[in-house]
């Protein structure tokens, strides 16, 4: 069966799999800081997975392991079934802070991926214009990032990542620096863009409402060192409108259930920060 049904076996293979990963870092004063503890997580191809957890619990570290920026101390990180040994070609990463290149124009920023991957310049240029149109930035090709609003810079960052058509998109609190209205608009646009190429998404956030509105699956992490506490499936129908979906009864109910799970961890994390700062 295994020899003949490799096609059929494909859908069962997860896009991302973290198998009991632990990660610790050396601290400047010689100790070790453990960020992750035996964390296991799978994300199917085309699935939108949101990861929520208290501040500083190690949410971002899970992303760096999947991206290949860091290696797990224990356990294994797998992408499409093979272990992550370096930075994968199939991955897009949207950072919390602006990571667009300030010395490149909007067009050159979006062009960067294809150029780094040695695509012919004219084809890359055409692709870049295409993506700029999709994120609504036609006419801004020659601007520099400092001339754009925070929301527009995020669109550039999205186009910059998505132009490589990654099968995995990692997002580290991408909208946390935006104001509430821009954030809602960007969330809707993200869902539309996600629908175009359907990558598997890991979306790290501390905003539970955002997580439920966007995702197929919400993973709750414990206070650091982080491990998976609960996984909730979101059955809300798509396409969704982020500003409206939160009034649905199912949404409210799910929010209460997840918050119940998350609340204890938030309290633990909070009590730690307050007890540390008052010696």
């Amino acid at each position: 069966m295994s020899a003949t049904t490799s096609e059929a076996a494909q859908p069962t293979q997860p896009a991302i799999e973290l198998r009991g990963v632990s990660k610790s870092f050396a601290t400047p004063n010689g100790g070790r800081y453990q960020a992750l503890r035996e964390l296991s997580l799978t994300v199917a191809a085309g699935e939108f997975c949101a990861v929520v957890g208290p501040t500083g619990c190690g949410k971002s570290t899970t992303l760096t392991l999947v991206a290949g920026l860091e290696r797990p101390t224990e356990g294994a990180a797998l992408v499409h079934g093979s272990p992550v040994l370096g930075i994968g070609r199939d991955i897009g990463f949207v950072f919390q802070n602006d990571a667009v290149f300030p010395w490149k124009s909007v067009l050159d920023n979006v062009l960067a991926g294809p150029r780094f991957r040695s695509r012919p310049p004219d084809i890359a240029r055409e692709q870049a214009r295409d993506w700029l149109r999709r994120v609504g930035l036609t006419g801004f090709e020659d601007r520099y990032p400092h001339q754009l609003s925070g929301g527009m810079r995020k669109r550039v960052a999205l186009a910059q990542s998505l132009i490589n058509e990654p099968r995995i998109l990692l997002m580290d609190e991408p909208f946390s620096a935006l104001d509430v209205q821009t954030r809602a608009i960007m969330s809707d646009e993200l869902l539309t863009l996600w629908g175009l190429t359907k990558p598997a998404v890991v979306f790290v956030t501390h905003d539970l409402e955002e997580a439920i509105a966007l995702a197929d699956k919400v993973v709750v992490l414990t206070a650091g060192p982080a491990t998976v506490k609960d996984v909730f499936t979101v059955h809300l129908p798509r396409p969704r409108t982020v500003q409206e979906v939160r009034f649905e009864p199912d949404f409210v109910q799910l929010y209460q259930r997840i918050w119940h799970s998350l609340r204890d961890e938030v309290n633990i994390a909070y009590s730690r920060t307050t007890s540390v700062s008052a010696p």
Binding site: A67, W103, S105, A112, G113, F116, Y144, H146, Q160, N164
Partner: protein
């Protein structure tokens, strides 16, 4: 106060400072309060420059002297900047290189490099190369430390982003590290041009057949204070013009930066 009016007042105040300092000097020299034989006299300095322009100097025409010094300065500056940037970025990017070469660079930086000029004159003669070398040595360290620091301070997120987008190590260096270190490097370009000029002039001072440094030395040898000051004025004018050119280039290269917040600037 309107902007236009403010600028007028500033210019008038500048003029006043000039008149008080230079006029005061001239007056003191004429009244015999300071001895013009030792300290010079502004009107005589101008006279000296006029003589040089009209009749040439003892070593040939004034323009030839300026040309020789500028050639040494610019050559030394360009070579020093290129070496400084290459080494600074390379050591900033490679921990191994910086661990191995770091102590040597610190040692070389702590010796008084201007003294090397004597060695260069002995080894390479009175011609162009000894001055260029001295300028290179002075320029290199100023640029090196800035390029090194700039490379170390590149935003980690930007580098991670470039790598995930598919950039090779070399592309990261070229398209992320260099542009972001450029703000640091450019700051050193202004200072280092001055160093190049010092290197060229001191080199000529130590031993040469042409150049503004030799002009100063000849004037010194004949107890001509006005001649020394006149050569200084010429060097200052040349340096100011070069400074203006560097600023123009800088603004072109760094046009991606947001315009600077207003505040006092020099």
């Amino acid at each position: 106060m309107s902007h236009q009016r403010y600028r007028t007042v500033v210019w008038l105040a500048r003029l006043l400072v000039f008149i008080v300092v230079i006029g005061g000097w001239e007056l003191c020299a004429r009244l015999g309060i300071v001895n013009p034989f030792f300290y010079g006299q502004p009107s005589q300095v101008i006279g000296q420059i006029q003589t040089w322009i009209q009749n040439g100097t003892a070593q040939g025409s004034l323009w030839a002297q300026i040309a020789v010094t500028m050639q040494e300065t610019i050559l030394g500056w360009v070579i020093g900047v290129v070496l400084g940037v290459v080494f600074g970025v390379a050591l900033g990017r490679s921990r191994f290189l910086s661990d191995v070469l770091g102590p040597y660079i610190k040692i070389m930086n702590s010796i008084p490099r201007i003294v090397l000029g004597s060695i260069f004159i002995v080894a390479f003669g009175l011609g162009l190369s000894s001055k260029v070398l001295l300028a290179v040595v002075l320029v290199f360290f100023a640029v090196f430390f800035n390029a090194f620091q700039g490379t170390r301070e590149v935003d980690r997120n930007l580098m991670a982003n470039a790598r995930i987008l598919g950039a090779s190590r070399w592309r990261v260096t070229r398209e992320v590290v260099l542009p972001s270190a450029f703000t640091w490097i450019i700051a050193s370009l202004h200072v280092s041009f001055g160093f190049a000029l010092i290197g060229a002039i001191v080199g000529e001072f130590l031993g040469a057949q042409q150049g503004l440094g030799l002009l100063i030395r000849t004037a010194q040898g004949t107890f001509n204070a006005n001649g020394v000051l006149a050569a200084m004025v010429i060097v200052a004018i040349v340096a100011l013009i070069a400074e203006g050119l560097i600023t123009a280039i800088e603004q072109r290269i760094l046009r991606w930066r947001p315009p600077a917040l207003s505040g006092p600037s020099l």
